[in-house]
Symmetry: C2
Subunit: 517 residues, 2 copies
């Protein structure tokens, strides 16, 4: 996987000088020399041919050529005198619905020379995906969502290029990983059927696209590779994540979970791959909790509690005064409260009127994590009884999805050697706490591995290894997608997991031990 | 060769309707169905994908698809409801320096439904190729030569399309055969190195081109295939001629000669092919003769003479009053004069003061074919002594080229089973007369075969058979090109052929017989 065999190559040539006994055209002279090196005849677009009679003779036939790889063929996109060396760059993009991350890659060295993270400007037309799909259905909606993101690309390219003293036209390849809807909006494909039964995307497998076709200004002969999707709810971001994990090449069984409002799961190894996606709800990400927030400065992202004194310790993002709870903080908090006996296994707050943190608000019990005098906005940060119920539904759904997939192939959680946790929120959670609340399975903790920037890493990999597209295609071909909605056992299993950690405590032996201890 | 397997196909599909158990994307649904039929996965450009969510559901998944073949792949360029059938057309073009011939081909039937012949508008910048190459080197010269011809294409396409009630966008493939310079000017490639030693074209093998890239308005996803060339003086028109003759597939040996100012020759069979080109000069085409003209109305194109009475009979193009002599008329005339003893074997007019047709003009003997009172312009049509000398140099060069090529592979003219005569002027000549003057070899007359519209026929063939490009490529790969300029025996042989029919009469036994008789 880490072999460096990039999608662009610079080849220097010292071509034979034309003579009466070798009066091949400039084109054939160049093409034959490259064929010798590449083992296949490269494509030579008309625009490249046009410059040959100027560049070749004037350079003394000592030239550099820039080639791109696509559709199993090399294409010569630029020719220059040896004295004016060529240096290609690639742009890998993790196209998230909230954040778009750009990675500028030096295609000669494979190094990421710059990263840039921007808010997805489509947010103004809808915070979540469903809102954007609806907006796309309005007059000119799709066009305006597309141009929002295309403009962001062009601005970001110029910004990154300027910092490194290169031109936008030095970028000759874009690789892009995003969920199915994001890719559709980016390419101007109608997403309306994605959210309606039977949930059909327009495209599963994207052909290479010329960026200019959708208004992106980089090298005029550049290609854009968009990771394919396996379905409306199993996008290219996850396929890029599989690539980043390398699980599809390993003998042992791995599971990859992208945690978010939807849980997207892949299980398998080099021989088989099963995938599914299901709704976990926004509670785990903090989306619907009274004091929930995303992992911005001031978000409580770590919580610990002394089980005896019940003293609460927390950490905030960037050390700022607390404003709310983000996903990892919420899971830590619920785990700590459960282990301290503040919440029982059904998810009910155990009311102890001596505990000053237990208070009532609008007729509901809440547990205060940070007092108004500690917080950045003068209001308390707390978790309410109904928040906890929401959380338990979400963690139960998450666990059930993992369980259904695992059972569908007749294996047990303990057979999983590596458990990759991905997703903006997944990266930060403490697996032990997630096990305590019964969200993740009770396997040895060292088997959990956070997969940071999984989609971005996969996209970078696609720049660094020209066979990535083929490899991803093969993954798509052999992946079995389970439709969670049509599985009858899902609801039964969900009900059993609406407890802390689970109705069947034998599934969580380490948690049972802690509870005894 | 005549198998109909065109470069465009319309395939009707009744696609499976999406369901929860088959929720492949529109794209994959379509692609998989086509893969079943084609045996390979077709390309699906973004623009084709865009319409799928509208066309597929609204048509009840009963659709028609239009596919083009190029670079060993099929590409879906259009999708339509079954109720709106698709009907693709192709345009084959013989791009001559004087005349451009367009053939509109119905790609469903393979029929040529329309032909159109236009004067090459580049003529105003130079009658012959060399003048145009020089003009191309001037400021904006290449651009204006290119737009002249591109404009002609667009006008002609619209003209032909209108007559047949179709749109320009119904034309989805152009195949083009022309000489090396014409193709370069058409594509905007600098031709200046073609006419300077070592005579290098920019391109020998053209990749498929998008017509829109050079300003031709037909189907937005159309391809343009330009026949390759083997060198600066052996163009795609001749390769198309080889295709039209089928000589490269036959067991027996054939020779193909494209007669013009340059003689372009191919000799060979399915196992080997030798080619060369050499200057014959413009005399045979009438270009430099006092009364020479092209085959326009009023051109004397047939001449016969009673060897006893010396009465002259002639035929003019379109039966109009004579104005001059075109190529075939000139050859007929010289042959007749030689057989009648009016010209001796050295090419000298045999002066007989009793013959009223023998006159003097500006101190030179001339032979009058048509008197001023017979002609359309009140001046005589004649041939002069210096015209005859010119003619003999040209016919001698032509014969020598044929002879050098034949000798280079160690065969004899009698081993040639079929002798294809092509070229605007070649089509009209009477082979027997050409043999008499020693321009063509003395082989049985039934072996000569005029190849009319050879380049156009080859271009049409490329529309009707999608493997033509590959076949032509193979011809290019196995053709051996002889550089006439660098062969030492050329000049000696030329000297020997500056007689009527030749210094060595044993080479022309049938002519020797006629001379005796």
């Amino acid at each position: 996987m880490n072999r460096f065999d990039p999608i662009a190559r610079v080849i220097s040539l010292d071509l034979p000088i034309p003579s009466l006994s070798d009066n091949r055209s400039y084109e054939l002279r160049l093409r034959a020399a490259l064929e010798n090196i590449l083992g296949q005849r490269p494509l030579l677009p008309l625009n490249t041919c046009k410059v040959l009679p100027y560049v070749l003779p004037s350079s003394g036939y000592k030239i550099q050529t820039l080639l791109l790889y696509g559709r199993s063929e090399w294409k010569v996109i630029q020719v220059s005198a040896e004295s004016r060396p060529l240096h290609p760059y690639g742009l890998a993009v993790d196209l998230g619905s909230t954040t778009v991350a750009f990675y500028l890659v030096d295609l000669c060295s494979g190094e990421i020379i710059s990263t840039l993270s921007k808010t997805n400007p489509q947010s103004v037309h809808g915070e979540d995906i469903l809102e954007r799909i609806l907006f796309a259905g309005q007059d000119n909606g799709l066009n305006s969502l597309q141009s929002d993101i295309v403009d962001l690309f062009n601005l970001s390219v110029r910004e990154m290029a300027a910092v490194h003293g290169i031109g936008a036209e030095d970028i000759c390849f874009i690789t892009l990983a995003g969920n199915t809807t994001m890719c559709h909006l980016f390419l101007g494909l109608d997403p309306s059927h994605i959210c309606r039964e039977p949930y059909i995307p327009v495209v599963n497998r994207f052909d290479l696209i010329r960026p200019g076709e959708i208004g992106i200004d980089i090298h005029p002969h550049a290609w854009l590779y968009c990771f394919p999707n396996v379905g409306s709810y199993f996008g290219g971001d996850l396929l890029a994540g599989i690539m980043a994990s390398g699980m599809h090449l390993k003998n042992e069984i791995s599971m990859l979970v992208d945690m978010g409002t939807n849980a997207e799961v892949v299980l398998g190894n080099r021989d088989w791959l099963v995938a599914c996606a299901g709704a976990a709800g926004p509670a785990l990400e903090g989306g619907v909790l009274a004091c929930g927030m995303s992992a911005q400065p001031g978000a409580i992202d770590r919580v610990d509690m002394d089980p005896n004194s019940l003293a609460v310790m927390f950490h905030t993002k960037d050390g700022k005064a607390p404003k709310g709870l983000c996903g990892s903080g919420i899971i830590d908090l619920l785990a700590a409260m459960f282990m301290a006996g503040l919440v029982d296994s059904t998810g009910r707050l155990v009311v102890d009127r001596d505990n000053p943190r237990l208070q009532q608000l609008n007729g509901e019990w809440i547990y205060v994590v940070a007092d108004p005098h500690e917080t950045g906005h003068g209001k308390p940060v707390y978790i309410s009884q109904s928040d906890i119920k929401n959380l338990i539904r979400s963690k139960g759904a998450m666990y059930t999805i993992l369980n259904v997939v695992t059972q569908s192939v007749g294996i047990d959680f303990k057979d999983i050697e590596t458990f990759y946790v991905a997703g903006a929120f997944g990266n930060y959670i403490d697996p032990q706490k997630a096990v305590i609340i019964g969200m993740l399975p009770d396997i040895p903790l060292e088997r959990f591995k956070a997969l940071e920037n999984a989609a971005g890493t996969g996209a970078v990999e696609a720049l660094k290894n020209r066979n990535t597209g083929k490899e991803v295609e093969e993954i798509c071909d052999r992946i079995t997608y389970l439709e969670m909605n049509v599985r009858g056992d899902f609801m039964n299993q969900l009900t059993a997991s609406l407890f802390l950690p689970h109705t069947d405590l034998s599934r969580f032996p380490s948690v049972a031990d802690m509870m005894k201890g």
